[in-house]
């Protein structure tokens, strides 16, 4: 799942709004419950949450994104293993992290952090090291995800879904289709005030870095400076930085091109052939969402059951067909319908995929990214 978004459901956007508004309250609660000298140094306190304690009934509590599980999946699991499943949802990694750190997630045996969040949570000692001997079907994972940069050897996480970032454009008006990031700069007269970029510093800066031939995860200040300047050059022609809310304008023709996440771009392109989703040639970002077992998990056995269940190719294939995200499960892929497989956007070719980078933490350079971003969105 990309940084802050879930699928196209408006509901999740509303809840995101409430999250944005409620972050102050969250901070307060976080601050209070972590009222010690070192902030963030927590042992997840056993909180008595309203939901029933899991161990006693043997139920499995899952904390996940809104569109990754549905009732059918849960029902299938219960039928197969006899374990009850309770699902809670969140719409951003930060929300999930906040809840876990505050102790409110003591019930959850399984959570779904995104790639960068996995690295962070490993650093915070919140994730249990996975006992590979208990896992079945790990070999079916595609090569690219066998040892991802965010969690080498998948020692703490199992990749579950992935997607890319790309350009969604109006193919009727843009008769020369975009193939790469530089299209935006080369065609800024046509696109003037009719294109949007993602309101996400790492994605947008990363895209510009990629267009300059640098890595998405660059830390060299000169490279970042160059990217910043290039972005500034483009800015007068930008309509806005929007991660959501571009649909109306794009569909009506007021916008010609938007940088979007695949989970939102691909459905639009499938519903309306006028709009096409393309992954730039020089490489875009690829994100991965994973399954992890928190160290505070009450029902570790059930968690392993769930992971194994989802690793089954058949299950993976059915879920993909129902819920429509890309799976890293190689064998499941072979079982998918040809139509889905042919969808180059959903499953881009290997060579293009190789050029896509996962967004990794950049350590000290974070401050620089933030500063440039503030400058770009403020000047």
């Amino acid at each position: 799942m990309p940084r802050r978004l879930s699928r196209s459901s408006l509901l999740s956007r509303t809840s995101r709004r409430h999250f944005l508004q409620g972050s102050a309250a969250t901070m307060a609660v976080m601050g209070l419950s972590n009222c010690r000298r070192t902030i963030g140094e927590t042992e997840p306190e056993p909180a008595d949450s309203s939901t029933a304690s899991a161990e006693a009934s043997g139920a499995l509590h899952i904390y996940t994104w809104a569109d990754y599980t549905d009732d059918e999946l849960a029902a299938q699991f219960t039928e197969a293993t006899g374990i009850d499943v309770k699902i809670d949802v969140y719409d951003s990694n930060e929300t999930m992290l906040a809840k876990m750190q505050a102790g409110g997630g003591a019930n959850y045996s399984l959570i779904y952090p995104s790639d960068y969040m996995v690295t962070e949570m490993i650093g915070l000692d919140m994730l249990a090291k996975l006992d590979k001997s208990r896992l079945i079907g790990l070999d079916k994972i595609r090569e690219k995800w066998k040892s991802p940069v965010y969690d080498p050897e998948n020692s703490h996480s199992i990749p579950y879904s992935w997607g890319t970032t790309g350009l969604l454009y109006n193919s009727e008006i843009l008769t020369t289709p975009p193939t790469d990031w530089n299209y935006l700069w080369d065609n800024s007269d046509v696109l003037s005030r009719k294109m949007t970029l993602l309101d996400d510093v790492r994605e947008t800066m990363g895209a510009v870095l990629s267009s300059l031939g640098y890595s998405y995860n660059a830390t060299d200040p000169t490279e970042l400076e160059e990217a910043y300047q290039k972005l500034l050059d483009l800015k007068p022609n930008l309509a806005s930085f929007k991660s959501f809310g571009w649909q109306d304008e794009l569909l009506s023709g007021d916008l010609l091109l938007s940088m979007v996440y695949s989970v939102e771009g691909i459905p639009v392109s499938l519903e309306n052939p006028t709009f096409k989703y393309v992954i730039p040639e020089s490489g875009s970002s690829v994100w991965t969402d994973t399954m992890v077992i928190p160290t505070s998990a009450p029902n570790v056995d059930a968690a392993y059951e769930w992971i194994n269940f989802n690793l089954q190719p058949k299950v993976s294939q059915e879920t993909v067909e129902r819920l429509f995200f890309a799976t890293p499960n190689g064998e499941a892929m072979t079982m998918l319908s040809q139509e889905l497989l042919d969808n180059k956007n959903l499953f881009p070719p290997e060579d293009l995929l190789a050029k896509c980078e996962g967004i990794a933490p950049v350590g000290e350079a974070n401050a620089l990214y933030d500063e440039y971003w503030t400058k770009v969105t403020s000047a």
């Binding site: 956007r13 509303t14 709004r17 944005l20 972050s23 901070m27 307060a28 601050g31 209070l32 009222c35 000298r37 070192t38 902030i39 963030g40 140094e41 930060e94 650093g123 915070l124 005030r193 309101d199 510093v201 790492r202 800015k235 930008l238 309509a239 806005s240 930085f241 929007k242 809310g245 109306d248 304008e249 009506s252 023709g253 007021d254 974070n366 401050a367 990214y369 933030d370 500063e371 971003w373 503030t374 400058k375 770009v376 969105t377 403020s378 000047a379």
Partner: protein, 318 residues
């Protein structure tokens, strides 16, 4: 031996007397404490719950944020290394000052627009609308507040975009079209629309209590309606005006959904900046806390200023 009986009794009584003395003394003290507590009990009982609420959810977090703001470059998970004013000094950089200034401009502009638009509406509602319809009209005006503000902002996208409803109507009438979408003007429109009902409600409450006899007296003394308005109505409703402005200013200062959705690429506001520090890539809680303190300061200044106007010569108002 003669006094042995007495001696014995006396000897027995001595400790008893001593005991009695001590007991009396203790009783007196307890009584005093009890009375002191009882005197406190009522105010504590009444203020207690609110006081605890304020303490836990306002005072303590503010103290925490103040502490964090004094730690330069504090990251979550790091121990506190040392204190310093670096975070605050950083705010003085032009990049960040610009963000502050933008937020203040948006908030001030929205407040003024709400006042200019809201006062006539509230005036009409309170003093000119037929009494029967007054409540209904008021409800109708407040109705938008019942919908999600995010949805309302989305609606403005549909209205304002180049091929949107407004331009369709303008085009049909042969008038020049507008291109306000993704500009600061769209932000003003969106925020004014969002907060206008609050302003109208507060002004309505103030205008409703206006003593109409004062307006008659003004007319009697030779004031035409305009003069009566500026010299009587406005000063009389000044507390309401101040309260309305305060509410709109403070809420619009903290709003960042409207600038994000309707504003253009340069729409970074202070609340968004704070958000980025805490939950974005920066993870610089020290800087974020310093920014929060500055935001609190801006709000406090606004409160102080507007309260001064709203509460002028309190003893002159009955």
């Amino acid at each position: 031996m003669k006094n042995s009986g007495f001696d014995r009794i006396k000897a027995e009584q001595k400790p008893k007397k001593l005991l009695a003395l001590v007991v009396n003394w203790l009783q007196a003290i307890f009584d005093l404490i009890w009375r002191w507590l009882s005197n406190l009990a009522r105010p504590i009982g009444l203020l207690g719950p609110a006081g605890i609420w304020l303490l836990l959810l306002m005072v303590l977090p503010m103290l925490l944020i103040t502490e964090l703001s004094l730690v330069p470059g504090l990251k979550p998970g790091q121990p506190i290394a040392g204190y310093g004013l670096l975070n605050y000094l950083r705010i003085l950089e032009p990049t960040y000052l610009q963000v502050l200034q933008r937020s203040a401009t948006f908030a001030t502009g929205t407040t003024l627009l709400c006042l200019l638009l809201g006062f006539p509406v509230a005036y009409w509602l309170a003093l000119m609308a037929p009494k029967r319809w007054r409540n209904l009209l008021l409800v109708l005006f407040i109705l938008p507040l019942w919908t999600s503000s995010l949805l309302r902002t989305y609606a403005w996208i549909t209205l304002l975009r180049s091929s949107g409803v407004i331009n369709l109507v303008l085009g049909a009438l042969g008038l020049p079209t507008q291109s306000l979408m993704n500009t600061p003007w769209a932000v003003y429109i969106g925020m004014t629309y969002s907060f206008l009902p609050y302003m109208v409600l507060i002004l309505y409450a103030s205008l409703e209590r206006l003593d109409l006899k004062l307006l008659e007296a003004a007319a009697d003394l030779g004031a035409n309606p305009q003069i009566a308005f500026w010299r009587v109505t406005v000063p009389q409703t000044l507390p309401g005006i101040a309260a309305g402005c305060l509410l709109v200013f403070v809420t619009s200062l903290g709003d960042f959904v409207v600038p994000t959705l309707l504003g253009g690429p340069s729409s970074m506001t202070i609340s968004r900046l704070i958000y980025n520090q805490f939950l974005g890539v920066a993870r610089n809680w020290g800087f974020g806390s310093a920014l929060s303190m500055v935001l609190i300061l801006m709000v406090s200044l606004a409160i102080a200023l507007l309260l001064k106007y709203g509460d002028r010569n309190p003893e002159i108002y009955s």
